[in-house]
């Protein structure tokens, strides 16, 4: 049953989405599609982060009646790792910001040439 652990499976899901995202980024010509692939990749990274913080059988890092508290509200050994969750919050927000900006760029590019094919935007080269 080594393989069948939630942490490992979601790690695989994360890796899978990252690779799929890369595939889209490298193969799609449509700018919106490329940005979508980025979003998929970011989702994958987020899953990766959370699954690394997961500890089998532990509860969410919130001290309420559901967990047994030790002295001074210590919940050591009861909860999953709070740090990756904090990091992933940041990552999600950053991802949102980047995506919004990329899309703004996409609109601007579309306005300039009335096309979304990335091959058409090579004014600067060599």
């Amino acid at each position: 049953m080594e393989f069948f652990e939630l942490g490992k499976i979601s790690l695989l899901i994360g890796f899978g989405l990252i690779v799929l995202g890369f595939w889209g980024i490298l193969s799609q010509k449509n700018i919106i599609k490329i940005i979508l692939s980025f979003t998929i990749m970011e989702t994958g990274v987020n899953i990766l982060i959370v699954s690394l913080g997961y500890v089998k059988g532990k509860t969410a890092p919130i001290i309420d009646s559901a967990v047994e508290q030790g002295a001074n509200h210590s919940v050591l050994g009861q909860v999953v790792d709070p740090v990756p969750q904090a990091l992933v919050l940041t990552a999600i927000v950053i991802g949102f910001g980047t995506t919004a900006l990329l899309l703004a760029y996409a609109m601007k590019l579309f306005k300039a040439k009335r096309t979304l094919q990335i091959n058409n935007f090579n004014d600067l080269k060599w």
């Binding site: 980024i25 700018i31 990749m41 990766l48 740090v83 990552a91 980047t98 996409a106 935007f121 600067l124």
Partner: protein
Amino acid sequence: MVDPIYIIAAALGVGFAIGILGNIGRNFAGGLTLATIAFMSFVSAQWFAGFYFGNVSSSYIFTAGFQPPLSINLLMGAEEAFLTFIVNLLGLLGGIYLFVNFKRKGRNAFVIYLVLLMGFNVVIMTRDIFNLFVFLEITSIATAGLILIEKGNRAVGAGFKYLLATSIISSMLLIGIIFAYFYTGTLNIDMIIESNLRYMVGGPIIIFLILISAILELKPFPANGWGLDVYEGAHQGFSAIVSAGTATASLYMLYKLLPIASPEWSYYIALLGAVTFIGANLLGVKQRFARRVLAYSSVGQLGLLMLILGLRGFLGPNVNYVFFGILITNILAKTGFFWLVGIVKANEIKEWAIIRRKPFLLFLMGVFIFALVGFPPFPSFFSKWTFVMDLANHGLFGWISVIIIGSFLEAVYLMRWFGYAVKSEDDYKFDFKIQIHKITPIIILTALLFVIGYFTAQFTETGAMINFIPLLFVAVLYFADALPIWVKNTIAILGMGIYFYFTYPQLDNLRLIFEVIFIIGGILTLIAGYNYKGKRQGFYPVALLMFAGLAAIIEAQTTLEFFYGWELMTAGSYFLIIRGKKSMPHALSYMLFSLGGAYALLMAFSIANIGVVFPSLDILNNIANYPVWAYGLLLAGFLTKTASVGLHIWLPGAHGEAESDVSPMVSAILLKAGVFGVLLTLIGMGQSTYDLGTLAYILGWVGAITVFVGNLGAVFQEDAKRLLAYSSIGQLGYIVFAFAIMTHLGWLTGFTYTINHFMYKAVLFLTIGAVVLRVGTHNMYEMGGLIKRMPLAFIAVLIGIIALSGVPPLSGFTGKWLFYNAVIEKGWYFQGVLVFFSGGLAFLYLYRLIQTVFLGQLKDNLRNVKEISFWFLIPIYVLIIGLMVFAAMPQLVLQPLGTLIANYFPNNQLVWEGSYAYTAIGHWTGTGVMISIMVMFLGTLLLVKLSTRKAHKLKQFDIVFSGERPHRPETTHVAHNMYAGFYKAVWPFTLPAVETFWNWISDFIHETAGFVRRIYSGNGQAYMLHIVLFIIIMFFITIGGTI
């Protein structure tokens, strides 16, 4: 000390607060932004000053009141203080420069800019790896935003590519970070370093992901198309900030993260740096557009800095000196240059001729280019020197070659650009304006470059020995450039005179000879300058720059001082040469050969420096490590300056096209710097315990062939100055050959030639130059019959060529006599024959100087031409007197020379008895020959005069024309193309193959660059593909096999 956290608090507090202002008060928002940046600069400046004076120590800033690793901490150490100070200061200047552009975009632009700078600060200071990621993202996003202050689709395209690329990179970084956390349980960089992550399962991959992202931020070749596009596409005011700020922050980030990895990573980074440095600069050669040239140069410099970072283990205590010296030069010069591009607004580098409309801008451009190429007195010169010396100490000559090749390629395109700016035709309709808020920051940067350069020199023991007073004098002349010519000329002459007066008592005889040639010769040629009218803008600073360099070479106690003088002299002479009307290509080739030579010297000095504590110039004596290489490189370096065969193709153009009084400076005087160098090398070789006879033997052959090629080339010239230039090549060949003989007599010959060549070449070039000024052409066939109009010039040329050709009674004969004695004694018969035969060629071309220029028929348009200028005649006749004295009483000079040479070759084979000189082969007396020839000459003259008293004077138009109408006017001159038949027979011996060879090299570089740069297709997706490819390839190179 103000807590550095206030840098961040102030930036963000003000940034957030500006939102309230709404759309009103853009000026206020801008002012507030600048004030905040000023505050940020003040805080970091305060820390930097504290570290500089040693009254503070590194301190950690703990956020949230917890010790790391529990919460994020920042570090303010000496490096951080310096870097944040630089970034903030540049940010402040950039804010002033971009004020108007920001204002146009609204207050948001100010805020974004402020936040960007804050981001740089945190990236530099933070010790938490995830925090690093967050603030790196801040800088990326802010950059992507500010690219848009430039209008147009190009900027949008560039920003989009940038955002795509950085998104991929940051995803990789994030994956690495989270795994690092998983394995080490901490996000603090110091703790991760302690945790030995690299020994854990999967650790190498994690480290790989983190480091490869940090490396990709540095735009390694070839995965850097996006970076180039940003530099090119963004507003140039902002590109400067990207180039300086991002470079600084990303480099320091890599520096912080490197200790996590195993030591081999340093090697990989050095390798990538090398590839980037050479790759980017190679492609730069092919660029035509100003912005893109700067982009390639920026990336190239990043490569160099990566290289230093990778090799830091070999630098010991000098690592900061080297790294920060090159970094600061790059930042200041590149920023200034970008801003200059923003002012001048000429797209193609050819169009940069318009910069001449504002000569001050040309000066700034020159400063930036010479700082980037690594000339003194800029910091990079000293840092590169130390870097190369340290590398050599560890035997890393491959890396030295990388630095040299990259620097050379960079010099190629920067110097070409500068050449266009100085010389190409300015017939463009568009113009540019200088705005005070744009020029002020650039001026501050320039001043900083000089000041920091000075302090950089003071940091090292040898650097502190450099005498900067001559350079200060040059600066004075630069600022006095508005004065009339005679004032400046007098100041220059007085300055050089005073310098000579104070320095000559300290010199040994060997150096005194060269000091007299350089300084007294310089003063004499400067006298001719009184002839010019007006202001002659820019002439005096650059001429004095060259003389300052020559003086520094003479005075040098250490190899560093010598190299410093050498580079100053190169820079000064380059500026002098490029002043000529058609000098653009010649000045470039002069510069490139000189740089090549200088790099050879650098390499040789570094070899000599191995294991040496104090690099005095004496280390060139008896170099113990790789002696053949060291002396060979030294000779190669100096021979570029003496224009020996193979390295000679720059000379004819450079000397031929120079101004009338510049030609003697660069020919009679400057070439002797090369001779001085050759001499130093030979002295060193003489004391070597290794057998270096073969090297001297080869040198002898090089000299001999040079004599032949130079003289043969001179024969076929129609241009009087080029003829003299080729003749210089040949004459320098004699000198090199004579010194290479390595005997007492040989050296005596060498010195005799050196002194004489200085005098007669100065006489000839001054006279011909003065004639050219009068007749307005270099072409001899357009002259003729000038003897009637310019008798004094004729006499000067006559004496000059008698001296040169080695006919008695003048000093050339002294030289020849000694020469054959030396050759026979040494037994170099084949070479001797070649040189002897070449001497015959000298008659062929020297004859033309008299026959074509002064004899024959006077051209119609020259009927009223006047005698050459009085101001030229003074130095000419002073020198002629010198020639006569030397010829009549050679013992005056040769006897002390003999004593001097006896230091090196004690076996003095020349014995003097009064005016009689004896060798094993024969004897000769200069005085006697002079007296007898004079008697014969005067007697014959008298006889002829008396016997032809009643002869009919034939006028020019006594000849009858038969109505012919020649199509090519020059063909009517009897002496046109005089040796055409001869040329058909011997042309291969003029070695056109040498020129073909160098052209082939140049073409090869261009072709390669043109081919490689096609990878930058401009497609954002292709750039992402490059990045991914780069990651994968690096993965398999670094750890692929070890899993």
